[in-house]
């Protein structure tokens, strides 16, 4: 048996064909997984970007609300001690929603309250 680089004997056609078939099968089997993995990574990255943007939008909206600028839509937030059975106190304010899918939602009480 000669060395790896000095052995002049080749591969038979059959061996080459079998090897190529195996490589093709393996590659074919892995391609969808690789594609899906790349898709997941891309989607995750897009979601990170989306929520980074949504978060900054939310902070801007909240800062505006703190300055008395009209943002969001009118809403009420019920507050009731767990031990009480009467109707809740309804806190007036606005609900700010940011984003389309998987919205970020916050409630800002009205600045002017009796």
């Amino acid at each position: 048996m000669g060395g790896f680089w000095t052995d002049e004997s080749g591969l038979t056609l059959l061996e080459v064909v079998v090897a190529l078939v195996l490589i093709s099968l393996i590659t074919t089997a892995f391609v969808p997984m690789i594609a899906a993995s790349v898709k997941f990574i891309n989607r995750a990255w897009e979601r990170y970007q989306y929520y980074t943007e949504a978060r900054s939008q939310m902070e801007i909206q909240m800062a505006k609300a703190a300055q008395g600028v009209a943002v969001g839509r009118s809403a009420k937030f019920p507050i009731k001690p767990e031990s009480e059975s009467g109707p809740p106190v309804m806190v007036d304010g606005v609900t700010i929603e940011v984003g389309e899918e998987g919205k970020l939602v916050v409630f800002i009480p009205n600045k002017v309250n009796k």
Partner: protein
Amino acid sequence: MSIRSEQGIAAVGTVVMLMVVLSVLVTALWQYGMFQITAAGRNQAYLQATYLAHAGAEAARTAWLDKTADEKLEGPLARVYYSEAGGFQLDRPEQFLGYIDVMIETIEGAQAEYPRTRIVSTAHVSGISRTLSLTTFPQVYGHQDELNLYDRNSGRISGTNQYIDRYLIIEPGLENAELHFNPAIRSQSARFSARAVAFEKSIDFAQGGTASAWLVISGALRLPVAKTLVVEAEYVFFKDITLLYAEPSVDPLAPPAQYSLVLRIPAGRGQEIGGQRYGEVYFDGGSVAKKQFVWSRGPGILDYMLTGSGYEPEEIHTYEGVPLAGNAFYFRDGTDLLNPGPGQLIPIPDEKQKRNEAFKDLFIWE
């Protein structure tokens, strides 16, 4: 075994090795992708929970601030759900984004006199929880040693303070210890000065009709008996108030007497209305009244005693005729509640009352 071996299994073996290596790499890539997508989902739920927790804390803070001292919320609040269709609600909807649990608790500090209030809001979204807390600064009470504005046990007014840019609470400790002046002093003036002053107990300068003053000889000099509590603040919150006055008419030698409250605005504070500076005063009790006392002869020939007349307290109105009790007013610097002058007290419409402004720095996020 060489790659050029005529034994074909060598090529197959190499392919198998490639397959193993490729499998490991692809599996790693797959795992990484799954991890990233899961992390992004958790990040989404975390952010959603953060803002819901913020909503719960803000709403609870507003409700807490809007209550008077006796009605302050404490303990766990009922769970609130958020759904896109129904907004924030107590009833559990079929589909909802998440829910919020809020707890309001009092934290006793190292010294029992310095309690804080903490609002803990926890939101849950898709199995992810996020908790935010709002905590008050240690509350400043007028009876604390550094201020010593009144005696906590007796309620007797004892001092004056320099302006503090804080929310000052006036709360005599005992059940019947309303704030009152020292009867042994003929004339007394004290000033409580802060950004906002809240009287969490009633003020009764007539002490239920038992207030008294005893003038010996000096009564003949007709020097008025004047006791004045000056409240210097942008925002003032009162409960019941009873002031005292006495006319000299019953005896030509008896002096006039006034136990009054005067509202002042700290320098550079307040808001301008018609070129004058105004603060805000909220009369949250059921009565703002003055009670007439009378002078009577004491045991000595020139002794006079100031005693309860038995007259019913008279409700105080603005100069323009609006009752003070239960209402809120812009007050002009120097307003004397015993005798409000024209334009000194201007009713504040409900929609413009800004109680929360007085407390805007009371809570800090943790």
